[in-house]
Structures are given as structure tokens and as C-alpha cells.
Amino acid sequence: MSEIQTGDYYTRHFSPGPSDDTLIINMGPQHPSTHGVLRIIVELDGEYILRCEPVLGYVHRMHEHMGETKSYTQYLPNMGRVDYLHALAWNWAWCGAVEKLAGIEVPERAQYIRVLTTELNRISSHLLWWGAYILDLGAFSPILYAFQDREIIMDLLQIPTGSRLTYCYFRFGGVSADLSDAFLAGLKDFVPYLRGRLPMYRDLVTDNVILRKRCEGIGHFSPELCRRYGATGPVARGSGIDYDVRRAEPYSIYDRFDWEVPVLEAGDAMSRYLIRLAEIEQSLKIIEQALATIPSGDFIAKGAPKPKWAPPRGETYFAVEGARGKIGVWLVSDGTKTPYRVKLRAPGYCNLSLFAEAAQGVLLADAVSILGSLDLVIPEIDR
């Protein structure tokens, strides 16, 4: 071949295999099914993937460095931008880490508010994933049905949080505003409404024979694979690993509610799909119980930190269950107003890292299905 160097750094360092008949192709960063700006360099034999390598960093914003330059309160809005689909879980992860470090008690009502809004946010994240995944498989309509339901959630969450997507609602020691009656009434109506919609989704999409053929047996992840790559969330639970941070590392008041962790053994894309749908139902269950038992009281602790507050020195690790898996925040403080080190463990990052191994030898169309079933949010992966 000619000596002219083509491609960029990553393509040049992606050494092709020994065969002459393969095709090296850039899937992304502008590709319809990489959900944003993920890029995957793929070596294809026909339509079979021989090898692939994800290339990240196209929306990398160095949130961890921002954490070292901003004060604790100033860093709060960053969380909604890490994973914009389940922003409240990240809110919670950051607030929880700081509260754990400084030993701040969260009032009872604030705990309930956090559970209610986070679970609602989880449903909206799963709904969006559901639509987007079916879109990856080539059906256009379900995503708009999902958006219709998600719209109600966003309208609801707008009432207490004031924003629709990148929420910044939690504060150290509570939340920024109390839940209004309009929100509580709306939520009360929403639970049976969504329950009524779910059977329709099942009839329309889940039982569709083409969808089943595209998901069943595709992208099999063994529990061992999940463990080696540290996959968590629906990806791990779809592979038979009974692991949910809300149960395994209990935080807040999740132990008061009666709910289950859905686990399926199959480990294929279909089981991940079903897990997420089942999680919507479980979240509804939690919301229903929390709505029934929400106490009155303060929505933020009396001695909640002021903006220029500095926590004691020390370090802590706090994890919450996000829609995509285990969100972890490792926080090191040197006792000043800015954190010494913030490490954000993004679940999507770990889940995606197993893709290169899982996609070996599958068809390109199946790779799209696997990629979709991982539920990627690229800003969260790149941070």
C-alpha cells in the first residue's frame, strides 16, 4: 500500500488483522446508533465483526478537574450534566458523598422526596432507553410513545426542581424545595396511568416476533464477564447477578419499601430489555409506597451547609444505584472549601468496556443491538 498516512491517531494505531479481506470501518463518532458521539473502530469480515475498539472522549469535559476547582456547592450543577438522563441519581451520589464525609443528617421527609424524585427520574430514563433501543432495531414509533409518557414525568419533575432535564435539586442535607400538592397529586395519577400503558408496550413491542428475534440470544454476557469488567445495573442483573446498590449497600430509606430486584439468568439483550421494563414496575411500586407514607417535616436539614462551607478532611466512597448501574463518588477532602479529589465512577463506562469482548464475531446488526442494550449515555461515559 501507499506510504501516505490516512486516518487519525486511533485508526493508525488500530493494526489490522492478518487477513487481506477485512474492512476497517469507523462506526461513529457521528453514527445514528452510537447515541451521541461514541466512536467504535470495527474490523469487519463481511458483516461479521472480527475486532472492535471503542474510542471515547468526544464529549469529555473533565468533570473531575472541575470538582477540584469549584466549591462543594458550586459543583452541584455539574452532576446533572454528567448523566442527563438520570440526573437525580448523580445529584444523590454527590450529595450523599458529602453528607457521608461531613456526617450531615438528612430529614425524614427529604429522604422520601429524594426517593420519589429519583425513582421517577429512573422511570423516565428507562422509558427513553426503551424507545431509543427499539429505534436502534429499526422501529421508529415506540420512541414517541415513550416520549409521551416521559413528557408527563418531566412536567412533574419540573414542579419541584424547576428544570426538565439537567436537574440540580438535591442539597447537602435535603433538597432545594418542598414537594407541592400539585406534584403529589400528579404523581398519584401518574402511577396507575403508566401501569396501564405497560401492557400496551408489551403487546405492541415486547411480544413482536421480529424484536424477539433481534434480542433473544444476542450479546450473551456471562456473569463472569460482568465481574471481570465490573458491569453493574441492568446489564449485570440481566446476566443473573443479583446486585442492586439499593439492596447491597443500602442507603437512604429503600429498606422500608417492599420491592424486588428483578434478575434474569439468560444474559442476552432480551433479558436486559425485560429487566429494565421490570424495573419501571418496581420503581412504580416504590413510588406508590413512598407516596402513601411520606411524612411531613423539613425538606432540608436545619444546619445545612452554607455555600462557603468546608467539610472536615478525610475521604469517603458513596454509591447509589443509577438507571445504568452503580454510580460511585470517591471524595477526598483536605478540609478546604474545594475538594481535594473527586472521582466519579460512571456505570456506563464500565458497562461499555465489555463491549469490545462481547462484540467479537457477531454481526454488525447485532453489535448495534448489543450497544443499545447496554444503555449508553455518552456524556456519562466521557464525563
Partner: protein
């Protein structure tokens, strides 16, 4: 000076008039269909669809056409210019030939040909050719993959399509579309679909595959291949592929109407309106499928063809021959 007597045969006049009329028909229909597709998609997806431009958004397509025409035509570096621009033209031109033998009414056809059906089948092959050329010449790997898919898909699906069509031809004993129409009665139970439901099913499935409509839209498969064979086309280059897709939809629906649904005959007031109604019903069904089903995978598509459609088509043909 040589005196030549110019004889213009009536058949030629009919042909020229027919082609002009067909060009208008195809153009008008494509515009209506694009609008219809968006409206159908909109209503399936619980949104209004286009409704800003003109009444009910009727002028939306015109606005889009103006936009497409106004856009710069770009070509990637390293592409084969001749083939690159030949492909969209080749996609659209044969469409006129395909329409010629179709009888829209008792006397409404532009070419009365004994081999009308064969003519349509023969020229339908050019569509695939244009897809291949487009994918290959655009110097794009996604385009190449799309072209490879287009080839194997259409080669595979042409066989059961032919088998289904042959069953009807055997029954009628003619390739003349007018004769096939007249071989059926005006009432639905006299149509070929009542006698040959399997052939109709196979034909319609294959027609979806041949026109690259969902769930068989693998050559473009935008979630896998970005846009497949027409990834690199801009402006009217893309527009011609788009028009050809809709024109092909009308063609396959028209042929299905003639072969299986009694053509222009209806229980009352037989005429071209019946023909159009049937064609549009089929097209609506195609749109309905597209906006409902996920896309099948490539090997599933081929397996479906080789393991089900071809054996079924052959069996159907054998039974038909035995009965006839």
C-alpha cells in the same frame, strides 16, 4: 428532394402520450405519497405530522423538493463521478417503463403488450443495479456494505417473487396485464387473492423486500449503516433515490392490484378509481408496516427467503400447475 411520407402509428401516439401522462402521474403521486407517509407516520406516532406549510401541510413536500433542488450536489473525493451520477438517474428512469403496461382502467394504459408482466419484471432489475452502483461508486464503506446487502437481498427475493407471479400467469395463461385483470371478476371472491392467498402473501412480502421498505429496509438501515447506499448523496441525488422508492412502491402495489385484486374492476362503477383505491390501500399497508415493525437482521432475512418463501412458492406453483 426525397419525399418521405411520415406515418405516425396510433400506437406510437398512445405511447408518447402515455409516457407524458405517466411522468405527471409518478411525479404527482410521489409528492402525495411523501406527504401521506409523513401524515401516516405522524398519526401512528401520535403527533400531527406536517401541518404548517399549506393546508394540512400539503405543501410540505413541495417545500422539501425546493430545498432538495436548491442544495449543492456534493461528491466525495475518490468517488467514481460517472457512476456516482449515473446511479440516481438509473434508479429513476426505468420507473416510466415499469408503468407503461399497467392498465389503470378499461382503456387507460399506454402500452398494450402481451408480455407486459415480463417487461415489468425485466426492468425492475435496474433498481438493484442503481443501488449497487450508488453504493460502490460513492467510495464509502457504509455505502459498499449497503450495496452488498442490496444485491444479496434482491437476488434472493426476486426468485419467490417470480414464483408467485408465475402462479398467476399460469392460471390466466397470459402475461398480458389487461387479460389478467379481465380474468378476474368484479367481486372480491372472484379476485385472484381468493384463489391464491399464499402467492399474494409471498408477492407482497417480496415486494416489500424489493422496494427496500421496512421491515426489509436493510440496504439503507440507518441505525446500522448510517444511510447505506445513499450515504454520500446530497440534494437531488438523494431526491431521485427518494422519488424512485415511492415510484417503486406504486409499481409493486399496482402490479399486486392487477395480479391479485382484480385491477380496475370493482363491485360497482368499475374504473380507474377502483384501481387507485386498491393501490393506495396497499401503500397504506406498507407504510403501516414501516412505522410499526423493527428491522429484521440480514441473515434472518435471507433465511426467511431461502427456507420459507422459495419452498412455499415452489409448492404453490406445483399445486397451481397440477390444478390448471
Amino acid at each position: 428532394m426525397l419525399q418521405t411520407e411520415i406515418i405516425v402509428p396510433a400506437e406510437l401516439v398512445r405511447l408518447v402520450l402515455g409516457i407524458v401522462a405517466l411522468a405527471a402521474f409518478v411525479g404527482a403521486n410521489a409528492i402525495v405519497l411523501v406527504w401521506l407517509e409523513r401524515k401516516v407516520a405522524g398519526h401512528i406516532q401520535r403527533r400531527p405530522g406536517p401541518f404548517e406549510v399549506g393546508p394540512y401541510g400539503l405543501l410540505q413536500t413541495a417545500a422539501d423538493a425546493a430545498k432538495l433542488i436548491g442544495k449543492q450536489l456534493t461528491m466525495p473525493a475518490g468517488a467514481d463521478a460517472f457512476l456516482f451520477w449515473l446511479a440516481p438517474i438509473l434508479a429513476f428512469l426505468p420507473v416510466f417503463v415499469l408503468f407503461m403496461p399497467i392498465p389503470f382502467g378499461e382503456n387507460l394504459y399506454s402500452l398494450d403488450m402481451d408480455l407486459g408482466l415480463v417487461l415489468i419484471l425485466a426492468y425492475a432489475g435496474f433498481g438493484v443495479l442503481s443501488l449497487c452502483l450508488a453504493g460502490w461508486s460513492s467510495h464509502n464503506k457504509w455505502g459498499l456494505l449497503g450495496a452488498a446487502r442490496a444485491v444479496s437481498q434482491s437476488v434472493a427475493y426476486e426468485i419467490p417473487l417470480l414464483l408467485a407471479v408465475l402462479a398467476i400467469a399460469f392460471m390466466t395463461g397470459s402475461f398480458n396485464l389487461q387479460a389478467i385483470t379481465e380474468g378476474q371478476g368484479p367481486w372480491p371472491w372472484q379476485w385472484n387473492v381468493a384463489v391464491q392467498p399464499l402467492a399474494f402473501f409471498i408477492y407482497f412480502a417480496c415486494a416489500l423486500a424489493e422496494t427496500n421498505r421496512a421491515p426489509f429496509d436493510l440496504p439503507e438501515a440507518e441505525s446500522e449503516l448510517t444511510a447505506g447506499f445513499h450515504t454520500e448523496y446530497s440534494g437531488m441525488g438523494f431526491g431521485l433515490f427518494f422519488l424512485a422508492e415511492y415510484a417503486n412502491m406504486i409499481v409493486v402495489s399496482s402490479v399486486a392490484t392487477v395480479l391479485f385484486l382484480g385491477g380496475w374492476q370493482g363491485p360497482v362503477f368499475s374504473g380507474w378509481w377502483w384501481f387507485l383505491a386498491k393501490v393506495y390501500a396497499l401503500i397504506l399497508a406498507m407504510m403501516w408496516f414501516r412505522w410499526t415493525y423493527p428491522r429484521v437482521r440480514f441473515d434472518q432475512l435471507l433465511n426467511l427467503n431461502w427456507k420459507w418463501f422459495i419452498p412455499l412458492g415452489l409448492a404453490n406453483l406445483l399445486v397451481t400447475v397440477a390444478v390448471v
